[in-house]
Structure formats: C-alpha cells, structure tokens
Amino acid sequence: MGESSNEPLRGTIDLLIMRTLSLAPMHGWGITQRIQQATDGVLEVNQGSLYPALQRLEQKEWIDSEWRVTDNNRRAKYYRLTPLGRRALGAETQSWRRLVVAVEQLLRTT
C-alpha cells in the first residue's frame, strides 16, 4: 500500500490518539476519521497501527473503553482518556513540542 508517506511518525500515534480522545470519547473508526479531518488528510492512521496502539494505551491505563450505542443505533467500543492519561498527554505534548523546536532549529542552522 502506497500510503506509507501519510502515516504518522512512529511513536507519535499515541499522542495523536490521546489528543483526539481529549476532546470527546470516540470509537476506533471515529479516531481515524478525526485525525484525517484535523490534519486535512495529511495524516492517515492505518488500522494495523491504530488498534494495537489503543490496546497499549489501555494497558498503560491512559485510556479506558466501554461499549456504547452510536447515533445510528450501532454497538461500538468507545475509548476515553483517563485522568492519568490526561496528565500523560500534557507531558507528551510538551516533549513533542521540545522535539519539534529542536528539529526546526537543526533544520534552520544547517
């Protein structure tokens, strides 16, 4: 599949998921759509990375999940950020920003 260029950087997917969930609880498919929309289609999350990432975050207790009924009356598994996850999101965001600044700096000087 040729979309590899649109895939987020390894390691940032957790950040994207948590950021998305910080707005509202959402199911897996919704998360992918939301990320796509918010980045104007620049970033596309592959299902093969999404679900293992969700499982990982759940094991870390940064998110938790429950089965709910969607607007269209379908059962879906909704993920939600836990308080622990919210704190983690703050820390992750800051470290991401530091990374961006550092990379930007590096790109500018060379």
Binding site: M1, H27, G28, W29, Q33, N46, Q47, G48, Y51, P52, Q55, R56, Q59, E61, W67, R74, R75, A76, K77
Partner: protein
Amino acid sequence: MRGTKRIAMWLRALVSRPTMESELDEEMRFHLEMEAAKHTRRGVSNDEARRRASLAFGSVEQHKEAMREGRGVRGIERAAFDLRFGFRQLRKTPGFTLAAVLTLALGIGGNVAVFSVVNGVLLRPLAFPDPDRLVTIAHRTRGGDLPPTLPNASAADVVYQASHSFDAMALYSSWQGSLAGGDTAPDWVDVTSVTRTLFDVLRVRPALGRPFTAEEDRPRGPRAVILSHALWRQRFGSDPSVIGRTISVDGTMHEIVGVMPAGFAFPTPAIALWVPMRVDRTDLGGFNTPGIGRLRAGVSPEEATRELTQLLPGVTKLTDFLTEKTLRDAGLTTDVHPYLDDVVGRVRPVLWTLWAMVGLVLLIACVNVASLLLVRAETRRREMALRVALGAERGHLLAQSLAESTMLLAMGAGLGVLFAWGAVSVLPRLAPDLLPRLTDVRIDAVVLAATTLVAAGVAVAFGAVPVARNRAVAPASMLRDGDRAATVDRHTGRLRQGLVVAQVAMATVLLVGSGLVLRSFQKLRSVELGFRPDGVVTFRIALPPARYGTPESVAQFHYAMLDRIRAVPGVEVAGATGQLPLSPAFAEFDPLRMEGVTPPPNALPPLAEMRVATPGYFEAMGIPIVAGRALERADTDRQTGAVLVTQSIVRKVMQGRPALGARVAHGVPKVANDRPWSDVVGVVGDVRGVSLDKEPVGAVYYAMINRPGVDMNWLARSMVYTVRTKLPPAQLIASARRQLVQLDPTLPLAETRTMASVVDAARSGMRFSMIGFAVAAVIGLFMGAIGLYGVLSYVTAQRTREIGVRMALGATPASVRVSILRRGVVVSAVGLGAGLTAAVSLRMLAKPLLYGITPTDPLTLAAVSLVLLCAGALAAWLPARRAARLDPVRALRWD
C-alpha cells in the same frame, strides 16, 4: 500497583478469552462497516465499497493476531490449545489411552504407596528433638547367643556411669500392669518403668506436672507415676487437677506427678503409664533391660561403642562368675547404634526391597507406555509429514507431543495417587502389628512432590519419543510411500524388541523375588511349631499384688479358676502358662546352671527361657512329654521345685547326662545358692518360643511354687490360660468371664485370642512381604506380557503385506504361525536369561528376607522360567493365530 494490575489483566485475558475474541471481532467488523458506509455515501456501489474498505483495512486476521499478541498471554494460550488438541487425540483412541493411563496408574500408584510407607517408617525422623543423637545401648557376643540387651539394669547403671560419650543414658522395661482408680473399672495397661534420666535422653518434659525426682527413682522411695496423654483424656477426662491424686498400679498406690504430651510414644504408642525403675544397685537382675542414650554432640556411635566396651570389664566387680577373661572369650562387646535402627530394623530390608520391586514395576510400565507411544508414532507418521509439509514448526510438534504425554501422565499419576491412597488406608488393617510407626505413614507433601518429580521426568522422556522417531522423516518420501512400505525399518524394530527384552528381564527379577518369598512362606508354614494350635482358646488373668500378696494365694486362685474352666461342658483340657509361645516381647532369658556341672571356665553360661506352667498346659497345647511325667498339682507344695526341661536343654546343657533327677537353677547369682535348685521331673518337646524363624532356645518350665521368697512367684502372677475345646471361642470366653466374675469380680479377662491367631500373627511379617512382592510380580508379569503382545501384534500388522506375499508364494498357515511364535519365545527367552542373571547377581539383597531356602533356590528359578516362557508363548499366540488366518488376496490389497 502496576504489577498487580498487569496480572489482573493477564488473568482476564486468560479467563474471558471467548468474550475478548468476540469483542475483537465486533470492533473490527464495526470499523469495516463504517469505512464501507463512507464509500457508499460517496456513491460507490455496496460491493465496491466493501472491497475498498477491506483493501484499506488490510488483513483482519493479521490485525487480530497482533492484538492477541498484545495481550501477552500467547504462550499460555498456545499451551492450552496444545492440551486441548492432545486431549482430542487421546479421546480418539480410547483403547490406547485407557491402557496407557492404567499402566501408569499401577506403576505410579505402587510407588506412591510404598514410598509413603518408606518415608513414614524409614526416612521421617523420630518425633524427639535431635533424634539423630538417640542411640540404643546393647551388647553382643561373638556367637550372638545373648539377647541384645544390657547385662542387667544395675550393672549398666554402675559400669557405664564413667562414660563421657553421652549427654544422658537411661534404661527402660515394659510390661502389662493393672490400673485402678479414676472414673472407670480396673484395667490392664502397658506400663514402662524408666530411669528418671529418660526425660533428659529424649528431651521431652511432661506437658503437665514434672518428671520423676531422684528420690522417687530410688528403691523404697515414694511411688510416682506419669500418665500418657491418651490415658489422661480417656480415664480422667483431661482434668488438670489430676496431678497429686493417687492411682493403683499393680496394686500399689502411686502419686500422679505428670502427664506426657499428646503423641509421646516411648517405647511404643501403646504405653499408658511410666513409673520410675528404682534400680537396686545391690541386686543383679535378668538379661532383659534395654538401654537408650543421647550422644554428646559430635560423638559417633562407633566412638561410644569403643568407650563403653573399655568400661565393660567393670561389670566383673559385681559378680563372681564373670571374669575379664570370660568376657574376652565370649567376645562380649558393647554395641551402640542409632535408636531408629531398633524401631525399624526388622522391616528395613523388606521395605527397601519392596520399593525396589515397585520401582521395577514402574520401569516396566514406562517401557510399556513408551512402546505404545512408539507404535502410535509409527501410525501417525503420515500425519506428521503432512503437517511438516504444511509448515508446522518442529518445536511446536514437540510441544504438542509433550502436551499429549503430559496429559497421559497427569491422568495416570492422579489415578495412581488414588490407588495409593486406598492402599495406604487399608495398610493398618493388613499389617497392624507389623510396621512400626504406622501412624507416620501418610501421603504427604514430600510423597506427592516425589511423585510429581518422577511423573514429570517420565513425561519428558515419553514426549520426546515420537518426535525423535519422526525427526528423520522426509515429508515428501513419507507422503508418497505412506504406510505401504513393505517392511519396518531395521532401527525401529530393534528398538522395540530391546524394550520388550528389558521388560521381560525386569518381570523375571520380580517373579524370582516373589517366588523366593513365597517359598519362604511355605517353609515357614511347615515349620515344626512344637504344639498344636487348632482348637486352643487363650486368655490372660493377672493378679494384682495388693490383693494376692502371697505365692500361696496366687497358686490357689489359678487352681480354682482352672477347676472352674475344666468344669465347663465342652472343655477337653485346660492349663496355664506365664507366656504363650511366639510372643517375643516378654520372653525372659537367663543363664542356666546344672548341679554338679561346672561350666567350662571363662565361658558364659548357656541361656534358657524361664517359663511357668500348670498341670494341663502341655496336654492343652499338644506339647509332647518325651520322658518322665508332666507337672502335677502336688509339685506346688514340694520342698524343692519341680521343673520340666525341653529336649534342647538336655542336648545343650546336660550334654547327654540323664535328665530325670538332675537339678537345675536359673540366674546369675552373686551368692551361689540364692536361687534354689529344682528337680527335673520330665522332658518335653521344644516349641518355637520367640518367633517362627528362630530355632527354639531351650526352656525350663517351673511349677507354681507355694513358698515365699521365690522369685518365680511374679511369673505366676499373670497367667495365660490355654483351653482345648470344641466350643466356639466366643462361647468359651463368655463362660470363662462368668466363672471369673464369681471368683473375683474386680479382675479383667484380657488378651482373648485363639492360638491359631497367635500363630497367624507370627506369620504376618512374612505374609506382608509375600503379598507385597506377589502383587508387584503379578503386575510386572502382566505388563510384560501385554508389552510383548502389543509389539508382536503391531509387527504382525506391519508385516501383513509381507506375510500375504509369502502365503501367496506357498507358505502354509502353520509355518507362518510358527515363525511368529518363535519370535515371541526367542524374545522372552533372551529377556528371561538377562533377568535370571540379574536376579542371581542381586541374591545378597534377598537374603535377609528369606527363610529356609537359598536365594538361588533351583525350584523357584525353574518355576519362574516356565511361567515366563508360557506367558511369552501366550502373548505371541494371538498375533500368530491372526497371521495364520490371513487371506493372501486381501493382505496384498491391505494399505
């Protein structure tokens, strides 16, 4: 916190696996449908939308697998899968599974049962602090004709006082005594007199009250008694205020000074009372006082033996017939050995040998299951090849094979432990008096751990067999040829035959062992007892000294009671004696002197049993009077005692001198005439006095003596009545009880038994080993035969095509049958040869268990060979017959 959370999640992943799987399914499906719906909204056809969604999504299974891995329990899930797979495999072949499980259950069960006995009786330490330092102090002579006990209480106490090897030393001596006081009727209980140092030796204090004081352990000191916990509970209702109260022991009032803790058992669990021994250092007693000591830390029994042997000559200062030269010539030495040896010494060789035998049975069982698995592996070669061709990892195949054998083992071990549990719980009924420490025998953690360890080892060995067998399989050639290969490859055939030979050899060893014990038992049964036990009923009446203080009253009572018994209709003849034959516990040996005969200087005097008998005893027991006359009632009043001697006394002590009219005396007198001479009035036949397998030691039978100052008096105080009668035993006992109540209502009638049961009990040791060995041997033989049968059947089935060709080419059914039979007999013969060689080289092990035969008893060996060859032929017969009936046309088409 995180750790426990993780474990909780793991557990959830394991326990609610089906829920998680279906949730995973639903989540994936939801995602796909939403994706497809998105495409549909954009105007794409439904099918196309679904196609695009799937394309975008990728392989659902792959994602799921990634998620499953993410749960972190993949290994366990796979193991669970393997186990389920193994279970299905086993269920598909119930015959194989049943055979394997039963074989293993028998093998493992036998081992668990015998090991729990070995563990409880031989290995578990005694229930005293530092039990390794507890030793028995005994004595030995070169010829071994002295009972292995101390020369006498006072001598030991005086002579060994100077020893430095011990923290403490004690003497003890047991008997049955009468007990009165407390809440119930008078009763007979087991009493042990001990020196007060016993509590220091064993390092056990009374749970209530105190040990004996030095004062109480002196002759003529205050009378004290310590109760067993069981007696305290039963008779005194566990009342703590019992301390200080008095009870009557053997008619004398004793103050209760202590109660021992529950579980205290010395020297046996039956002992109810302990009293001080009150050793009189001026009086030499009999050769019958066992000693026990606690070694100083770091002192070995050998060092203690050396030191006490050096002190031993001190005993000569106490007596004038023993000189240092006598001791040297007799080779008298002290023998200090672990106390545990005494407790279990008798059964040790039996138990170890029995364990070795059930070990062999387990080996045979293992070989059997291994060859079953091997056969199974052969038939599954095509399946294995297919799976390898389809990409199964060899490691995983090994794991599955292991899972299968583990399950077999688990089922076999589980069933085996059940068998063993059953066996261990009937053991007390099977061998009540036989095994010491029987209460210590149970299936405990140690036993189960050992079982698990053995089973695990066996499982690994088994599991590897089929995989190792199929390792070399090249999938392509296997799939092409399948099972059509006309002959079995040479390697497999040889391996299987080797296994069968080993089985037959082990079965041979088992059969030889049990055959030898069986023959010993037979010999023991035909031992000349010296009396006729059938139709003799016995019971004991003992007279407390407080009520029967004089020898006269004792003799009067017994004569009166005998008169009453003889008057009971149906009683032929009745008599009484101090001690029945074949009761080793209370046998009383002493040196015997003969008037006018000076024993060779510096030799220990010959020993003889001291027994007391009434008129009628010899007739009732069927002991022949060889010369002279039987005892008569008038003998009781004679000025000199009248005695009967046995034939072996005439032979050994009198050395051919005329017995009738000779005068003999028992004892080791410091003053030569402190025990009076008695006239020999008759000679009687020898009886097996102590045990069936020991030659009779000569005995002297004394008449009850109606004269004070004669120590034969106490022997008569407690008498066993022997009644020859046609009445049923219960009816006679009931009549005897009625008579006793009329004579003296305070006396109990004890130890009611038939003489036949006494003889039977004496045989119980040999019977126990015989049953144990026979069971092991029969199982071993059976399994060996099944193994042979299985292998021959399989080989025959494999050779169906070959046999078909031969028959098509003109071989007759008879020749086919002979060829297969020959194979079975040859394999058995080779195994038999190996087994006999092994049995002969192990013969020294069997020696202590045998009686009256040599370990290479030709009759046994011949019988075993015959049985084995017959079993081999029988095992070969069925497959041979099947092969001979083969229809060549069908055989050639057989696949």
